[in-house]
Structure formats: structure tokens, C-alpha cells
């Protein structure tokens, strides 16, 4: 599996650290709703198919990326910088 890093080009996924599901949004830090935090911290859609996820290019440019990858074929459809989600 290779990830086409917007800064470094296609690199082996071994250079990246996995950051999990990127489709979730963290509740506001002042939010005291237990259900929303429970959902954010513990529950996942865990789809079989397209999955939007974070990868950190730990052994490269150290940028956080958002990757759209298929969890069955491992095919990567899109890679973008997590910051502002700039598409490459």
C-alpha cells in the first residue's frame, strides 16, 4: 500500500502512522453531553468499503493527511492535507 503524500509523493504506508476514522467531528470541548462524547470516543461506523481516515506522515514531512481508502481492496481514491483538506 502506497500513500501519495501531497508533499513527498508516493511513499510506502510504513512511513505513516494510522490515525483512524476521519469522518467524525469532536464535540465542542465545553460540551457536557455524555452521549455525544460516548459516540465520539467509542463508536465507529467501521464501513466495509470506502473509508475516510487520518494518516500521519511520521517518517516524512510530518503532515497529517486525510486519505480515502477502500477497506476491502485497499485502493486509495484521494489524499489531502488534513489542514484545510487541500486536495492534490
Amino acid at each position: 500500500m502506497r500513500i501519495d503524500c501531497p508533499c513527498c509523493g508516493p511513499r510506502d504506508h510504513d512511513e505513516f502512522a494510522y490515525g483512524g476514522d476521519a469522518s467524525r467531528t469532536m464535540p465542542d470541548i465545553a460540551d457536557t453531553g455524555m452521549e455525544r462524547w460516548f459516540d465520539h470516543v467509542f463508536l465507529r461506523d467501521n464501513p466495509r468499503g470506502p473509508h475516510k481516515e487520518f494518516w500521519h506522515h511520521a517518517h516524512g514531512c510530518r503532515q497529517w493527511l486525510v486519505v480515502e481508502r477502500d477497506t476491502v481492496t485497499h485502493e486509495i481514491a484521494r489524499v489531502a492535507l488534513a489542514r484545510g483538506e487541500v486536495s492534490r
Partner: protein, 418 residues
């Protein structure tokens, strides 16, 4: 169904071994059952077996989308042990090991349970102290555990790297001598045979595509072989728990990850125990056919692919060679990955779900095989009595919401880290 015995073996030998019959019925699905178990792996078949044997519920179907035991039951490294430390796990896994010890006699099928002992290596005084704590907790719970020093390890495992230049010198080990391995396919066949003989229908090539509901309640399943009604539906589908839960709108506290395993070419007897490395994720045993069976870490990202990537292959090979330099020229014969439903605390769920009529046995992470008998036993109890047994009373569906996780490793809510 004929009982296997020395007499039956001798009688069939005289008759040219032409008298053997099928071990279990390959059933056609009926339109309605009391209980439908989704998943014909070890856990699902064990559940059906104990439903029939312990609770007298025999109008049961086990639906398997492929062939019997073709999922993770055939994709593990066949290790059994009960060296757990956290309340909720300790007694459960010990109960499982006790069931393993009597299993072949119980279901009259040779599961080849081999209590060859597990040796977990320790590489520093700090690891020794942590292991001493684990061993004490295990022994207080009536489970066997023993700490052995470097010289004792050397006596058992002379093939490890005991040289002056060893990268991680062996300091000692924590051992569970009752741990060992089991022939995984025989577990599926034995439970299938026992369940089938008691009237359970085992239906292969029958994939569950959806659920039938009346109001909130689940009243059956839709399958590739037609709709089947059921009063209760139990899920035991390992890595695909999330896929089926999604069909009823349930979000689970888990992610599906890959775990790879490896078998080498067959060699003469070398590894007499189950041995685990203490400074990397690596565990090894030797099958009766002579192949070294070993595995390591998860691939680390969500996947349903049943095949892993090369970095883990390299990592496992590196760990193996660091521990046992004699492995350096051995060739791999087979290599595969299984899909694991990794929970947020690394422990499983055996419970009712918030959906009436639906029960879940899942979240086995990569420790499902050793739990097979206890999992089936407890899941059968939970389905039959509509409440968990004392042994799975802590393995609850809502423990994350209530903040009572069972996090053996203390890794926190990141499934890939357990």
C-alpha cells in the same frame, strides 16, 4: 450418529474403512427456528452445541456464508491459554481452558488438545516484576503460573539467542504449563457434529443479507437462501460484526483490523512449547506436521481484506530472527490474514443488544480462538435465559457507555493498539 470409539476404529479397519459416515448433516434451511446463529465458525457452532446440550434448545440453525470453519476458525495460530489479569477476563478464560481440557471427551471428537505449555519471555527486571504481579493474580484465581529464571529458560529453549551479543537478553519467563495448542479445524467439526446430532441445522453457503423486524423486534433474517424466521438471532461473525450490526442501525465500539499469521516449511521437532517474545509482538509454536506457526502485530488500519501488507511480514520476520537466530534461512510455506473485530478496550462482548431479539458475541480482537468453548457456553446461556451468566457478566455491550472497560493492556480507546 455413530459414536467414535476404539471399537468403531477397529471395526472400520476390518471393514476396509468403508463404513464411516458424514460427521454432521449439511442441512437445508427450514422457514422457522427458535434460534438462528449467524456465523458457522467455532463460536457459532459452540453456541449451538451448548444451546442444545445445556439448555435443551434444539430447534436451532447455524447460518454460514461460506463453508464451516472457513473464517477465523481456520485462520488463527491455534493457541489456548488463560493468563489474564483483569477481573472479567481472568475467570472467563480459565473456564474456557477447563472446557478445552475436557472437550475431546465431551463432544467425542479428537480436538488434539495439546497442553505443551506457554513460555512468555521476559527481558528485564522490570518485566519480571510485572510478570510476578500477573502470576500472583493468576495463582490467587486458581490458575497455574510460574516464573522461571534465565538458566531454566535455557534448559527448556536452548535454541534462543543466549549469546553475549543478543539484542534483548533473556532475563526469565512467565509460564503457564496448562496452555498449549488445539487443532482448530477439529474444533469446528467436533462442535458441528455434536450440535448436528442433537438436531441443530448447519446451513452452509447461506449469507445473511438483512434482518426482518416487527416494530423494534428482530423476528428473523433474510439470506441468500431465502427468509428465515427466528424468535432470537445471535451474531457470532468475528470481523464482520460491524457489517451486520450496521444492517440494524447499531453502531459498535469496534473497528475491523487485519492480523497476519505464517506457517513455515515443515522441519524436525524444534519448538516444543508456545513461545512468546517479550520485546516485540511475536509468538511461535510448531504444528504436528512440523511447520512453525507464528504471528505478530496487527497491520494497524481498518480493513476487511483478509490479506495483509509487507511491513508486518518484515516486522514479524525480524522479531523471529532476533529471538531465534536459527530461523534465518527457514522458508515460509503459507501466509494469510484474518479480519479481527478490535474493540475499544481489547476485550469481547457477549450480551443482548439494545435491539430486542438480537444477541451479540463479538469483539474478540485477536484472542477469539482460545475463548471458543467459553464463548459458546456463555452465549448459549445468555440467549437461552435472556441474561448473562456470572462469567460474562462483565463482558457487556454497554460497558463503554458506563465507563467500565476491561482494558487488559491499558491502551485506551484505540482499537489498533490492543
Amino acid at each position: 450418529m455413530a459414536r467414535y470409539s476404539l471399537a468403531s476404529v477397529l471395526a472400520n479397519a476390518i471393514g476396509g474403512n468403508k463404513g464411516w459416515t458424514r460427521a454432521w448433516r449439511d442441512a437445508e434451511p427450514k422457514p422457522e427456528y427458535d434460534v438462528v446463529i449467524v456465523g458457522g465458525g467455532g463460536h457459532g457452532l459452540a453456541t449451538a452445541y451448548y444451546l442444545a446440550k445445556e439448555h435443551g434448545i434444539t430447534n436451532v440453525a447455524v447460518l454460514e456464508k461460506g463453508w464451516l470453519g472457513g473464517g477465523n476458525t481456520g485462520r488463527n495460530t491455534t493457541i489456548i491459554r488463560s493468563n489474564y489479569m483483569i477481573d472479567g477476563n481472568t475467570d472467563f478464560y480459565e473456564f474456557s481452558l477447563k472446557l478445552w481440557e475436557g472437550l475431546s471427551h465431551d463432544f467425542n471428537f479428537n480436538a488434539m488438545v495439546s497442553q505443551r505449555g506457554q513460555i512468555n519471555l521476559l527481558h528485564s527486571p522490570a518485566q519480571w516484576d510485572a510478570a510476578a504481579r500477573r502470576a500472583n493474580i493468576m495463582r490467587l484465581s486458581g490458575i497455574d503460573a510460574e516464573l522461571i529464571d534465565r538458566e531454566e529458560v535455557r534448559r527448556h529453549l536452548p535454541y534462543l539467542d543466549f549469546s553475549e551479543t543478543a539484542r534483548f537478553p533473556v532475563h526469565g519467563a512467565i509460564c503457564q504449563w496448562r496452555a498449549g495448542t488445539v487443532r482448530h479445524d477439529a474444533v469446528a467439526w467436533g462442535y458441528a457434529r455434536g450440535a448436528s446430532a442433537r438436531g441443530v441445522d448447519i446451513v452452509q453457503n447461506c449469507e445473511v443479507t438483512g434482518f426482518s423486524r416487527e416494530g423494534d423486534r428482530i423476528v428473523g433474517v433474510e439470506t441468500t437462501r431465502g427468509a428465515i424466521r427466528a424468535k432470537k438471532v445471535g451474531l457470532a461473525v468475528a470481523g464482520h460484526s460491524g457489517v451486520l450490526a450496521q444492517k440494524v442501525g447499531l453502531k459498535l465500539p469496534l473497528e475491523s483490523h487485519l492480523l497476519q499469521a505464517f506457517v513455515s516449511e515443515p522441519i524436525k521437532p524444534l519448538v516444543d512449547h508456545v513461545v512468546t517474545f517479550g520485546m516485540g509482538h511475536f509468538y511461535i509454536s510448531q504444528s504436528d506436521k512440523g511447520g512453525l506457526v507464528f504471528g505478530g502485530d496487527l497491520d494497524g488500519y481498518n480493513s476487511y481484506a483478509q490479506r495483509g501488507n509487507l511491513p508486518v511480514v518484515r516486522d514479524v520476520a525480524t522479531c523471529g530472527k532476533t529471538l531465534m537466530p536459527c530461523l534465518s534461512r527457514i522458508r515460509l510455506l503459507r501466509h494469510w490474514a484474518g479480519v479481527m473485530d478490535m474493540t475499544m478496550d481489547g476485550s469481547p462482548i457477549i450480551d443482548r443488544t439494545p435491539v430486542p431479539g438480537l444477541y451479540l458475541d463479538g469483539g474478540w480482537c485477536y484472542g477469539g480462538f482460545k475463548a471458543t468453548p467459553a464463548s459458546g457456553w456463555c452465549f448459549a446461556w445468555t440467549i437461552a435465559r435472556d441474561e448473562p451468566h456470572e462469567l460474562n457478566a462483565k463482558l457487556r455491550f454497554d460497558r463503554f457507555r458506563r465507563g467500565v472497560q476491561i482494558d487488559e493492556k491499558g491502551a485506551g480507546p484505540t482499537p489498533g493498539w490492543h
